[in-house]
Each structure stands twice: as C-alpha cells, then as structure tokens.
Symmetry: C2
Subunit: 365 residues, 2 copies
C-alpha cells in the first residue's frame, strides 16, 4: 500500500492506494467515531462493492445507511442530489455523521457536494472505484453537479477526510472506462512530469492489461502530482488551472454532445489534442511532439479527433467556461511534454483554426 | 457611520453601518473591479431600493444585472435558488463576477448560498435591508436554503466581502418585521452583553419609534457581538452555538407552523422563553429573571407564548435540529442575563415540561 498526504493545514488528509483496501478495517475505522455512516453509491457499484464495505465497517460495529442513486452523468443533477438530502434527513443524520462516497467521479462529486451542503458541511470519505476518480476527481476537493447550461457549474471546494483507492475494484471496470481514466493519467505526464510520460509510453500495455502493480504505481504517481498541485493552490487561482489541460475543449465536447455521450476522459483526450495543435500553431511545440502526444492517446484507445460540432458552437460553449476572465479565454497550452502553461496568447482565429483541424478525421495521423 | 471588522484572516471583511450608505459610492466601488455586477433582490425590496443602488454603482460605470425573486420564506428553496443560477448562466457571469444581495435574511441567505455554489464560489456583498438581517444574518457567513424536512438544512459557510447596513432602509420596514428583528438584538444582550441588555431596557421605545441614532447604535453593538463570536468560532464548533439561544425551539415553531407563518424573530422570542423556563427549572436562573426577559419581549411586541403544537411534535421537530449530537439534544440555556451556555443537562422530561408551560397562555405573565 502507498500512502500520500494532501497538505492543506487543518484540512490535510491521507490517500491510501493499494490492492484490496476495501477489506481492511484498520484503514477506515480510525476515521469514524460514530455508530452509523451513510454510504452513497449507485446501482452499478453497490451490487459489486457495497457488501464488502459494509462487512469491513460492521467489524467495527458501524451500521451503514445506503443511499443508492441511478447510474450516469445525466443524473449528476440537483434532483439526484436531493435524493441524498432526503435520505440524510429521513435517517435524521447529524452534521457529524460521516458520508462515504463509493463509486466513480459522478458519485464522488455528488456525494462530496451533498456533504459540503448538508447542514453546511458534514465529513466525508472518498472511496473511488474508477481509474478516473482514483487519479483525479477524488483528490483535491472539487465537488459539483451539472446545470443544463453547463457542466459542474454548481459546486463547492470541500475536502474529504480520507481517500481510499482500492485498485482491486478496477477489475470490474469496463474497458472503455479504464481507457478514459488513462487520459487523466497521461495528462499529469504532459503538464508537469515528463519522466512519468516516458514511463507511461513504456508501460501503457501493462496498464491496459490491468497489471495491479503497474496500476498502483500509475495511480500513486498521478495522485502525487495532483496532491502537490492542490496543496500549492487549493482554490485554483494559479497552478491548479494547469490540471485543466484539454478540459476547456473537453467540456465543450461533453456539453455539445449531450452529457454522457462522450466519457469525460475521452473528451479530455480529444481536447488535449486541440490544445496541442494550438500550442503548435503558436510555435511553442513542434509537429512531431503533437504526433507523439497523439500516439500515446491512440495506443490507449482514446479519441484524438473531436466531434464536428462546428467551430462556432465550440466557441460558444467555451465562452461559458469557468476559465473565462474579462471575456478573454485563458487556455492551458503546452510548451513541451511535461510543461504546461496558462495563457491567453491564442487569438479567437487561432483557436478556431486548431478546433477545425482537430475535428477532421485527417488530423495529423 | 460605524465600521466594524470581522476578523477571519484572509477572509476578513468590513461591516459599514449608518444612515444613507446606499447612496455612497466610495463604500461600494473599491470592492468592485468588474464592469457588471449581479444584484439579487425580491419583488418588495427591488422597487424600493434597487434604483438607488443602481445609481450609486452607475456613478462608477458599473452595470447591474438584476435577478428579482418572489418574496417570502416559502421561496427559500432550491427552485428559487435555481432562478439565480439561471440568471448567472444566461448572462454568462464569470466566477469573478460579484453578486450583491439586496434584501432581508431570505435574500441574503439565498444570494450568499448561490454565490458559494456558482462555479464553486463567486464573491458577494451583503446589503441587508431588514433589522434582522442587519444585526444577524448578513454577518458571519452562514448561508442556506430550506428543505421540506427542515429549515436551513442545505447551505454553506461562505463569507461576504463587505456588509453595507443602511439604517435608512429600515424606514419602510413593516412594524412586525422591525419587532422580529429586535428579538435577535435582545438575544445578544441575553447571551453575552448584560450592559447592552440594560441599554435596551432603557431605549426600547426609541428603537420602536425608529430613532436613527438609537438604531445605528443597536445594530452596531449587535454586529460587534456577532463579529466577535464568529471570529472566535467561524464554523460553530464552540462559542458560536450560543447565538442559537431560543433557536432550537424557534425552528421547531417555524417548521411546525409551516414556513412563513411565524416570523423567525417571533419564533426566536417564544423559543427564548422556553429556554429561559428550562434554565429556571434547572435552577440556573430565578423566576424574576424569567419574568424580566418576558417583559422586554412583550414590550417589543413579540410573542412569549409558543403555539400549542403538542409536546411530542416539538420533540420530534427538535430531533432534526443541527444541534443534536449522538442523539442528545444540546440546548443553549441561560445562567443569568448576559450568560448563556450550551448544555445537554436538561432531560427529555424537563424539556417537555418547559415546552408545556410556555405553550399555555397562562405562562408567567
Ligand atoms: N472533482 C473533480 O476534481 C473531478 C475531476 C475529474 C472528473 N470529475 C467528474 O467525474 C465524473 C466522471 O467520473 P468517472 O469517469 O469515474 O465516471 P462515473 O462515475 O460515471 O463512472 C463510470 C461508470 O463506471 C461505473 N463504475 C464505477 N466503478 C466501477 C467498478 N469498480 N466496476 C464497474 N463499474 C464501475 C459507474 O457506475 C459508471 O457507470 C464526471 O462527472 C466529471 O465531471 C471530477
Ligand atoms: N444566515 C444567518 O446567519 C441567519 C441568521 C438569522 C436568520 N436567518 C434567516 O433570515 C431569514 C429571515 O430574514 P428577515 O427577517 O430579514 O426576513 P425577509 O428576508 O423575509 O424580510 C422580511 C420581509 O421584509 C421585506 N423587506 C425587506 N427589506 C425591506 C425594507 N427595507 N422595507 C420594506 N420591506 C422590506 C421582505 O421583502 C420580506 O417581505 C430567515 O430565512 C432566517 O433563516 C439567517
Ligand atoms: Zn478531468
Ligand atoms: Zn436567528
């Protein structure tokens, strides 16, 4: 097992990463003083892992009140969030009751936001069960729900007390989801960890084959990168924005296609290629570097061509992005593999051209 | 004009209190760097004060996007909150856009909660226009909406950048609302400021007659008390709980009667008498002290007899209260005028008996 620490003063918390952690009471019990906890999960994950979690908690005399939500990004809404509040209130949960989010990023984001709001804040624990949630969404305290007019528009910065990433749960993850998670893993290499990018080029096939020790390493190294960034900039006033490489374009794809059509990681992969293309147009990276980036995403089975929504639609969707400041689009761009920067250097025309190139199947392949 | 500071490190902010502050651009403009702000108000307050606020902002070249909500506690819901999000998104507001809440506690609580959640947090300014919101809800960063199963159950701790309490706005406040606000003013005397309680006994009639300088003094002294408590305990882990004198009972009354039937301050007044009665039953204060407390509330035109919902219903409603810990009811009780404590010393039977006494018109009068 690997343990990292997210250093945020009195809000610091540990991340445990390893195989079979769900069955280890000594990791969970020290964080739970109450006799009952609420576990928020969904209809897919609960049948797979809820019993295991309940058994581990039961060994410490802790009772579980499950709140099982429908599965899917399209349920990441106020209505579903309200099901959690209904459950918490029906069971008369106190503000000191602990909420455990057991599932992927959708459950983590909603469970976390519910915890942030319930009685103005109850403690919560993340038990991420997708690769994406283990390497990204469970760490850093961003929580949110979607609004019809934009993804993750309503939310809170709210840190968990503990993150428990059990790599064994990835065994049941659909291939497509595993690959989507790899997009965020590759992202860490691209934005700030060139050695990790090299390691990924060598070990990608092991990850795709779900080699446990390769996965533990990739998750741990990803989390270490994220934890460092978050510790330096919890509320995304500076460096944290780099984590959004590919995301401004990716969000436009997700929204433009309708929530749930493209997986988040898939949209991020395609979006990262637009960012790379744009960086190339600005003369910051060379064409072979764009090709190298494209290659690793292709090997990971991820899309590198964006959907043809039309350039105007992209620009419109992006104008809703949180990264807009005084009407100017601030984008995360690359100055090399392992070196991302936030910049408003790209003109509207340059952005439009890069989108255009990456929407045609020709691309650079 | 009086200026107080709420000392919360990097989240510190000033409270300005005085007559006619809405017309003074030099108080608002230094806090607003953007060219447009969103003003959240309601159908009652907007016709009275929105134009004045707009003119002041216009003098600094700032455009106002108004979001006008229906008026009333019963609209303090997710649906109404969503109208704010719709407005913010329709106008493509950025996370750096400033939201100004212009109105009473309902608008302040909803505007603040919307600001806390929109893109995980946008800056906001409180312009409270009721006595209650000037002395209480606008200071301290508690924001919330109601849930059908409990008041203020969904919310956030989120501090404003500035509070502007224009005493002149109280001129148009209905009498009943002014009196309700006095309940919270009296509360500060009761929980921690015996001198202020004495001052209130002397000056109550001036306040009821809306003497501006008496009102400025009462608001400023109330805010000073609240700011001290909040600075010492932002998230209500200790002393801040004392501000809830009368509130556990009061919330039960508000919920039991249906949101909006009893005003918050009215419920707090009646609830404070239950707390006083219980303190007396525990032998902590004498019967004449209860009578003295009852007298000032009666003079202020506030209810001192609670509605006859039935003791069981009170206990049930209170079991939902945030002040429950491990199933035990922690109540704010009095050890004298100016000395409140949080205690779980009262048994269920003692609580029931105090409720019973204060529900009969006989009371102690
Ligand atoms: N908070 C953040 O910082 C952050 C960062 C990145 C992404 N996100 C959010 O995360 C969400 C995406 O997360 P995700 O990719 O985990 O999607 P997800 O939560 O929808 O999970 C993907 C699918 O896998 C299923 N699943 C989960 N664990 C499984 C398991 N162990 N075995 C089998 N099936 C399993 C889920 O039920 C779902 O059907 C998006 O809503 C995105 O906005 C948040
Ligand atoms: N956040 C906190 O710490 C805190 C503390 C106490 C109370 N509260 C909340 O505050 C709310 C009660 O606030 P309130 O008493 O201000 O009620 P309110 O906001 O409903 O205002 C009372 C009425 O007066 C009207 N009004 C407001 N200003 C006016 C003016 N200047 N002239 C004429 N009419 C005016 C309003 O439109 C409303 O009809 C409750 O929801 C309560 O939960 C919050
Ligand atoms: Zn992401
Ligand atoms: Zn109150």
């Amino acid at each position: 097992m690997e343990t990292l620490n997210v250093a945020l003063d009195e809000r610091s918390y540990p991340i445990h990463i390893g195989s079979g952690l769900l069955s280890r009471p000594e990791l969970l019990l020290p964080h739970i003083k109450q006799k009952k906890v609420v576990v928020v999960s969904n209809e897919t994950v609960a049948p797979l892992y809820l019993e295991r979690l309940c058994a581990t908690l039961a060994s410490g005399g802790i009772e579980v009140l499950p709140v099982i939500l429908p599965d899917g990004e399209k349920f990441k809404t106020w209505e579903t969030l309200n099901l959690i509040f209904d459950g918490l209130l029906a069971e008369r949960c106190e503000r000191s009751t602990i909420l455990i989010a057991l599932g992927g990023g959708v459950i983590g984001d909603m469970g976390g936001f519910a915890a942030a709001c319930y009685q103005r804040g109850m403690p919560f624990i993340q038990v991420p069960t997708t690769l994406l949630s283990q390497v990204d969404s469970s760490v850093g305290g961003k929580t949110a729900i979607n609004h019809p007019m934009g993804k993750n528009m309503i939310g809170a910065f709210y840190q968990p007390k503990l993150v428990l990433a059990d790599i064994l749960t990835l065994d049941t993850l659909p291939d497509r989801e595993l690959k989507a998670g790899l997009a965020e893993v590759i992202k860490y290499g691209l934005i700030r960890d060139p050695e990790f990018f090299d390691w990924l080029e060598v070990n990608l096939d092991k990850l795709l084959a779900r080699d446990q020790s390769a996965l533990v390493y990739a998750v741990q190294r990803s989390c270490a990168n994220k934890a460092e960034v978050v510790a330096a900039d919890e509320r995304e006033s500076g460096e944290r924005a780099l984590l959004n490489l590919g995301h401004t374009f990716g969000h436009a794809i997700e929204t433009g296609m309708g929530y749930g059509e493209w997986l988040h990681g898939e949209a991020v992969a395609a979006g990262t290629l637009i960012a790379a293309e744009l960086s190339c147009a600005l003369g910051w990276i060379e064409a072979p570097t764009v090709a190298r980036i494209e290659r690793i995403f292709v090997r990971a089975g991820l899309p590198v061509i964006s959907p043809a929504l039309g350039v105007d639609r992209y620009l419109e969707l992006m104008s809703h992005d949180k990264k807009v400041q005084d009407g100017k689009l601030r984008l995360v761009l690359l100055q090399g593999i392992g070196k991302a920067v936030v910049s408003d250097a790209a003109s509207k025309e340059q952005i439009a051209a890069a989108v255009e190139i990456r929407c045609t199947a020709a691309g650079r392949n």
